[in-house]
């Protein structure tokens, strides 16, 4: 058998061949070192190119884009063409904007800072299971923003803490461009989610979007301290996360 074309070797590396055809290629590869290298090159380029452009999947989209989508006028004649009404801003938003540093609220301290104010967009502690945020945490896969009431919620990662509880780090923002962005961590507590800590990120700035990551500083992640205290382990694989979502976050209790 002649060496298959590069396109066939690529399709093999991509798992795009029928089982019969793949079997043929496989038999051929056993005898041809050079062809194995080519297949490996295709695999590698797929992994690397995917990783190289993955950043947008791990962060919430800039608010200006969400805003464009929610408020750009649809053409006359399209049904439902009126832009949706904006939700009133949170009363505390201005105050947060004034602070140039993210307020980090974690555990005991945070309860004091945030927990008492009914108007604050996120309170620490257990979420009611019929809360829109709770529903979003239960249902969303990481990296897919969704609207819950007038807020955009993006789960960034799922991990387990030192107590082996499943936890999710997420970002939440109002669709109004001046509202603060909130990053928070919620962990599973019995059959509910518990907000373990939150950081408010300064809103606005000339360059909205990735405005919270001061270049070159280790402390760029405002939740790093909280994650450390929780004993966050490595991010769960997408399959594990999918299984938890499918199983409604019920843990098997038999061990």
């Amino acid at each position: 058998m002649k060496r298959p074309h590069d396109e066939i070797l690529m399709a093999y590396a991509d798992g795009a061949l029928t089982p019969e055809k793949a079997g043929e290629v496989e038999r051929f590869l056993q005898a041809d070192n050079e062809a194995r290298k080519i297949v490996e090159a295709f695999r590698r380029t797929r992994e690397l190119a995917r990783a190289a452009f993955d950043a947008p999947m791990r962060e919430a989209p800039p608010r200006r884009l969400v805003d464009t989508i929610m408020t750009s006028p649809a053409p006359a004649g399209a049904r439902g063409s009126a832009p949706p009404r904006r939700m009133p801003r949170w009363p505390m938003a201005r105050m947060v904007m004034a602070a140039s540093v993210a307020v980090i609220a974690g555990l005991g301290l945070g309860l004091f800072l945030l927990g008492r104010d009914e108007e604050s967009p996120i309170a620490l502690g257990k979420l009611s299971t019929d809360d829109a945020l709770s529903a979003a945490l239960t249902r969303l896969a990481s990296g897919t923003p969704d609207m819950a009431e007038a807020r955009v919620i993006t789960v960034l990662t799922t991990f387990r803490d030192a107590a082996h509880r499943p936890c999710r780090e997420f970002e939440m923002s109002d669709t109004s461009p001046t509202a603060p962005r909130i990053m928070a961590v919620a962990c599973r507590d019995g059959s509910a989610w518990r907000i373990e800590g939150a950081a408010w990120l300064r809103a606005g700035g000339a360059n909205n979007g990735g405005d919270f990551a001061p270049a070159g500083s280790e402390g760029a992640d405002p939740l790093a301290g909280l994650l450390k205290r929780l004993g966050a382990e490595a991010t769960l694989a997408p399959e594990e996360e999918a299984a938890l979502i499918a199983g409604d976050w019920q843990e098997k209790t038999g061990e």
């Binding site: 396109e7 690529m10 090159a41 690397l48 962060e59 969704d146 992640d221």
Partner: protein, 181 residues
């Protein structure tokens, strides 16, 4: 209906940004492209056939806008310095090794050197995870064309990576080169 589509579009944003990033090589430019594509999509909502893939339609809009801009400005694209900085911060969390960081930078630069045709296919299939057929449908070309462009693009990429690794595997100079195009 329009409201459902808006929500669907918001949910697609990470994928749209990733696609635009892989075409343009810069996060800022990617966000501009996505913004323009969303505006255009909403203005032409009547052209959208419900039941067809919103994602494919949006990808095509992004790609068209990108090609138009390239032609209009008649320029070769450049690798943006701040785009690179931003992804370094991100990569540090996922790929802990400095080595991987350097490698991904090389990959981004090599992707930016591909032809537009090759880059679009690479972005749809490799980065976005479309099948060859879906990419063919999205770009309106034959599946054979998709496969040959993709294979060529990836072999070029592999050769460039090999050359870098064989030469000087991991040095700071990669950053300087990236910014001085």
């Amino acid at each position: 209906m329009a409201e459902d589509i808006r929500q669907e579009m918001v949910a697609l944003l990470p994928r749209l940004r990733r696609f635009a990033y892989s075409l343009s090589g810069s996060m800022d430019e990617a966000d501009d492209l996505v913004q323009a594509a969303c505006e255009r999509a909403l203005a032409r909502l009547r052209q959208y056939e419900p039941g067809t893939q919103l994602a494919s339609w949006m990808f095509r809009l992004i790609q068209t806008i990108w090609i138009d801009r390239m032609r209009y400005e008649g320029r070769r694209r450049k690798v943006s310095g701040d785009g690179v900085m931003e992804t370094i911060a991100f990569d540090a969390r996922i790929h802990e090794q400095a080595e991987a960081r350097g490698l991904l930078e090389i990959v981004r630069r090599e992707v930016s050197r591909l032809s537009e045709d090759q880059r679009s296919v690479l972005a749809l299939v490799v980065v976005e995870g479309m099948s060859y057929q879906q990419a063919a449908d999205t770009l309106g070309v034959k599946i054979g064309t998709i496969m040959s462009r993709l294979a060529r693009a990836r072999l070029k990429l592999a050769a460039a990576i090999d050359a870098r690794e064989a030469g000087n595997p991991y040095r700071k100079e990669t950053r300087n080169e990236a910014t001085s195009r």
